[in-house]
């Protein structure tokens, strides 16, 4: 685990952010996951003061990137706030209360285009029956598009964290919808793929990484569907070889009290995967920054 920590600190760019690979310009997503890994304690304990400086510089890079609408773009030079705003809200204190409020409001203003009034009215006028998996509000990757499993799960986690301190009614309503969305988008095997359970009537199978992140978001849920999903996650874990996928699966299983096996993974690792592995390592020791 210490090697993950050292690798992560070595990858930090001079501007304070992290790129997706060993080298490369800074993006919001890997920067947020690297900061979550630092916050999980695994990297702190390994690196002493070096991690403190890394966290401070990383947070500075991130906070300076918040856009006037309250959200974050995926990277500098992209002029649109997207789903990565949820990741910024998952971070421990570092944003001011006002900035958190603006970010959460941006997220609350987003929903899948397929659940919008105009789209549903159009379906009704065309005599098309609403797909039962599309009746709940989730979150899109990119504004103006449909909702999918991963951005819904991560936004759910961010708003759940916020709700624990604010108890906001609007947040609670969206959390209820988000949970229903995730449960409705399970594949035939009981896990989750990107969010399309069927294409033209043909069933689709689940993926390991999305099954892990959906289970993580549904931590604490007693829904009857969860048991089968956990079994699917355990099967995926035994067959997966990517660090990113196995880390999400471990986080999802741990969130429901299962003890995931340690598995061997492929050597090629992006910054997101390394960060998630560090977070999963901390979660095995009871420190999961996604839910605590």
């Amino acid at each position: 685990m210490a090697s993950y920590s050292e690798e992560l600190l070595d990858r930090q760019n001079p501007d304070g952010g992290w790129g997706y690979g060993k080298v490369g310009s800074s993006w919001t997503e890997p920067t947020c996951y690297a900061l979550l890994a630092l916050a999980s304690g695994e990297v702190y304990s390994a690196e002493g003061s070096r991690r403190t400086v890394a966290a401070r510089n990383g947070l500075h890079w991130l906070t300076s990137g918040q856009r006037s609408d309250g959200g974050w773009a995926p990277r500098p030079g992209v002029d649109e706030s997207t789903w990565v705003t949820a990741l910024a809200l998952l971070l421990p204190p570092g944003l001011s209360a006002g900035d958190r409020q603006r970010a959460s409001q941006w997220l609350l203003n987003q929903s899948g285009r397929e659940s919008g009034f105009i789209y549903r009215l159009r379906l009704r006028l065309l005599g098309v029956r609403l797909d039962p998996t599309q009746q709940f509000d989730g979150w899109p990757w990119y504004p103006g598009t449909a909702a999918w499993v991963a951005p819904t799960a991560l936004t759910f986690l961010a708003l759940q964290k916020l709700n624990s301190s604010t108890g906001d009614a609007q947040i609670q309503k969206r959390l209820a919808e988000g949970k229903a969305f995730l449960l409705a988008r399970r594949c035939r095997d009981g896990g989750w793929n990107h969010g399309s359970t069927q294409a033209l009537g043909y069933d689709s199978d689940s993926y390991p990484e999305t099954t892990g992140v959906a289970l993580l978001a549904l931590h604490g849920s007693k829904a009857p569907e969860i048991g089968n999903a956990l079994d699917v996650a355990e099967r995926h874990l035994m067959q997966s070889h990517s660090l990113e996928a196995t880390s999400w699966l471990a986080l999802g299983l741990l969130a429901h009290g299962r003890s995931p096996s340690e598995v061997s993974v492929m050597p090629h690792q992006g910054t997101v995967a390394i960060s998630l592995a560090a977070i999963a390592g901390a979660a095995r020791q009871g420190r999961n920054p996604f839910v605590s």
Binding site: G21, G24, W27, W141, T145
Partner: protein, 342 residues
Amino acid sequence: MQQSPEPPAKGETRLSASPNLSRRQWVAGAAGATILTGCGTAPAPGKLAPVSILRAASYSEDLYALMQRIIAEHRLDVRGKRVVLKPNLVEFDQNTVINTNPKMVHAALEAFRAAGAADVRVAEGPGHRRVTLDLADAAGYFSTFPQFESLFTDLNLDAVTKVNLVRPHSKLSSLYLPNTVLGCDLLVSMPKMKTHHWVGATLSMKNLFGLVPGGVYGWPKNVLHWAGIGESIADLHTLFPRTFSIVDGIVGMEGNGPIQGTPRPMGIVVAGADPVAVDATCCRIMHIDPRRVSYLTLAAGEAQLHEDLIPQAGEKIASVSAAFALLPSLESIRLVNPASGS
């Protein structure tokens, strides 16, 4: 895996297969092309670049010699150039053939290197799976390419530059695109010959969906669906009109493609410098009427898709064609008279 470093300076990037054009000149040229097609006035029909249909019974045949032959026949001068090979990687299912076979891509890499290319990379941005290297590993790329990771760019996570669309076919006004592709001298689209449950066939033009970065737009690249799938394909073609195409038709996919279809052994490779001509030819090989494939008519106009305007080299269409199974909803795009190509 490598990502291109910083966005290129505005106006300085050299674009696909246009080494002597600056971005500004290239966008102006692309704009002119868009005006011709985007306003509904189809270009006057004229001969397209030739298309080669070559036999290759299996992936164990000498694909390297076949790629050398394609480079020679189409007079591709890649000496000192940066070449990006763009296979089609979608998902992995050991029971079918979703992805471009890695042996095809490896043979192309070796052939372009032998032809003097300064740099040859493999690049792809899958639409569903986030962990691209995991997918590439499952699809056999790591076992086929020595040090695959050092040759590969994940286009979903590459540095990007915003490119404006002038008079687009779709509802898009601009797209962020990966610098690795914007900065290369020759983009080679290497799709699998497959049916597609929404647009009929997925070939070298639809394969360009993989250029649109998931890191910006997400997985899937749903912004393209809402903007119109066929229209978005035509827009990407407008942005990369000089893409060279090499289609893996050794084993294609029929039925409920592009993911859940069934393997269809065809024993051919189809190649050419005009993606419209290559895709129209592949459609005829699959017994699909190219004039009923929306993105082909948008990109070129129906008249331009006439078989007589597409010079053929190698095998004749009639000698290799076979009716691909289509979903019932797509039977209307089936060629009425395959023998005559209409």
